[in-house]
Symmetry: C2
Subunit: 348 residues, 2 copies
Amino acid sequence: MKNIMLDERTKRVLCAVVESYIEKPEPVGSRYIMKKYGFNVCSATIRNIMSDLEDEGFLFQPHTSAGRVPTDRAYRFYVDCIFQETLKLQSAEIKRFVESLTKKLRKLRNNMNSLFLETTQSLSQATKYLGLALLPETDKTTLHRVDFIKFRDDLVIAVVVNDKGIVKNKIIKAYPEITQQELSNLADFVNSNYQGKAFDEIREDLFLRIKREKIFWDKLIAKILKMCQQALYFSREDLYISGLYNIMHLPDFSDIEKLREIAKTIQDRHLLIKLFENISENDDIKIIIGDENPIEELRSLSIIASPYKERDKSLGVIALVGPKRMDYQRAIMLVNAFAKSLTDTLSE
Amino acid sequence: MKNIMLDERTKRVLCAVVESYIEKPEPVGSRYIMKKYGFNVCSATIRNIMSDLEDEGFLFQPHTSAGRVPTDRAYRFYVDCIFQETLKLQSAEIKRFVESLTKKLRKLRNNMNSLFLETTQSLSQATKYLGLALLPETDKTTLHRVDFIKFRDDLVIAVVVNDKGIVKNKIIKAYPEITQQELSNLADFVNSNYQGKAFDEIREDLFLRIKREKIFWDKLIAKILKMCQQALYFSREDLYISGLYNIMHLPDFSDIEKLREIAKTIQDRHLLIKLFENISENDDIKIIIGDENPIEELRSLSIIASPYKERDKSLGVIALVGPKRMDYQRAIMLVNAFAKSLTDTLSE
DNA sequence: TTTAGCACTCCAAATATTTAAGTGCTAACA
DNA sequence: TGTTAGCACTTAAATATTTGGAGTGCTAAA
């Protein structure tokens, strides 16, 4: 259901209601709107408009004699209204935040973990919402170096460093006879053949080799290559989360039971990672409002997520999770600016 | 201030009040105590005793005509009373928990991260409080293998695996001319000389070598060794935290502002790590009640912490953080049993 | 030292009362 | 036809009032 055509005045009223409610979470009355947002019609007129908006599903009345509260649909309309122009804006305050972040990031350029921790913390700090960042998927990076370390007889620890300097390790089973020397040779082989190559590409190539070996030559070598192939697969699991305590005191979460459920879902990570992985494919800032969220437990929230890139390749996402009645204007500006800052740092 | 001598009956009354308050967070009256805990005296007598206990600082009366509430001192007295015998107890329910945990841990034996994650999650699950675990300090483990990886000109990533299979990495500056081959040689040198040695021992030995080299031979080699020494130092930073959402719905945290502060402090980690490092030196279960906590923000909580060991060497701590009015008996049994289970797994 | 008994205190829950904000509707107006 | 003034009506939230009961402290007697 696409937006019904609303005339200019009606739009203004709707946006005014949303903004007013964002500012203070209380049902908004017609007189208040009229005065505060400088409409030159009397409150009864506004009242009629608001009544229409309610019929269209943009507003909701908690009870007969109360003012009105925006629905998710209203937030969506509001965001669509302000989105384009907001991207162009930049307040002095936000400039300050971004400059400070950029400076810090430059120093952390070489340590991805600190880099993303700092980003999410700053984002949370600046907005008082929850800051998130999804690290680059290993498969989107290239192999810098691998090392295989024999550990306790039948185990091998594979340590992989990618071109972003992110170190990952994986414990895999191996047949006990294999020696550290053989493992080192294997590592040398992989390093000299595959450095700078994408992980999926490497696995693919290994797959072909395995097939060849299996058919024509050495089954053992095929086995080792298989292990190696395994060692180079990493599922995405690095999600940084900062500032959970920041969203606790928002009036929107006065219900502890709800807060608890949210905290549980967020701590779980899996769902969020999946959500952000989709967005990471995307090219633009994505805004998810309330009901639109595929994660049911988070439908009382809104999410603003932006991919960050290296040059033109999207690597991951940074995101902001806050109440539906968040200050979208500010939040969009910040997420946008932070993503740019991160992109710049990574593209240097 | 050590415990004043209380006669047997007074002790029983005090413990009864504490237990009753733990069960239900409401001021406890004299008649209730008399009936529920089977005292063969009339309520007025209990009343007199409770009045005495208030004078001694064990109980507190929210207002004149209310029952009484235990103070931190009362909890301390209660815990001291039940502690010894509690260690010997073991309910069927707890046995179940521990068996299930032990089974899981055995499977995760080779992956320390999962091992500790599972432990804290189970602990939180079983108690509905907050489960924590401090990983073994790198300096308390021995070197299994190290690898130096050249990264971006003047950086080296040191990847260290200790005898617990924990992989750590550290980014250090190095002079740009150093080649990967030289780094590999260095790693070979360290691996063949120091495998199985304690980290502090290695650093100490390197220190001597550096001195020698500097004085007699090659300044460059001294530099490299220095870098190597740096690479082998890790401050403690691995604290697992599970189940924050579990403590949210406890009546003790109905004040969101307080909960927020607690969440913030816990997320901060530093303070907790410091606290647990001290306890890790200790040999026994340590219980910290309210005021006794050196961390001011956590004075509305109690902590039960137990070191876990490998054979007889204490490695780290697992701990439970909950409200002061927690079920100490159950909590102590669980922490104790979980620590044993972890110790067994690690000592196998 | 313990107990019975009683006056007293104070909270908490239930109930009533007031207040204020905001609506919907009608009739008049431009 | 859209807008406005005016007014009756609704409702929640704030405030005040009442009531019940749990629990105490004290006193005098056992």
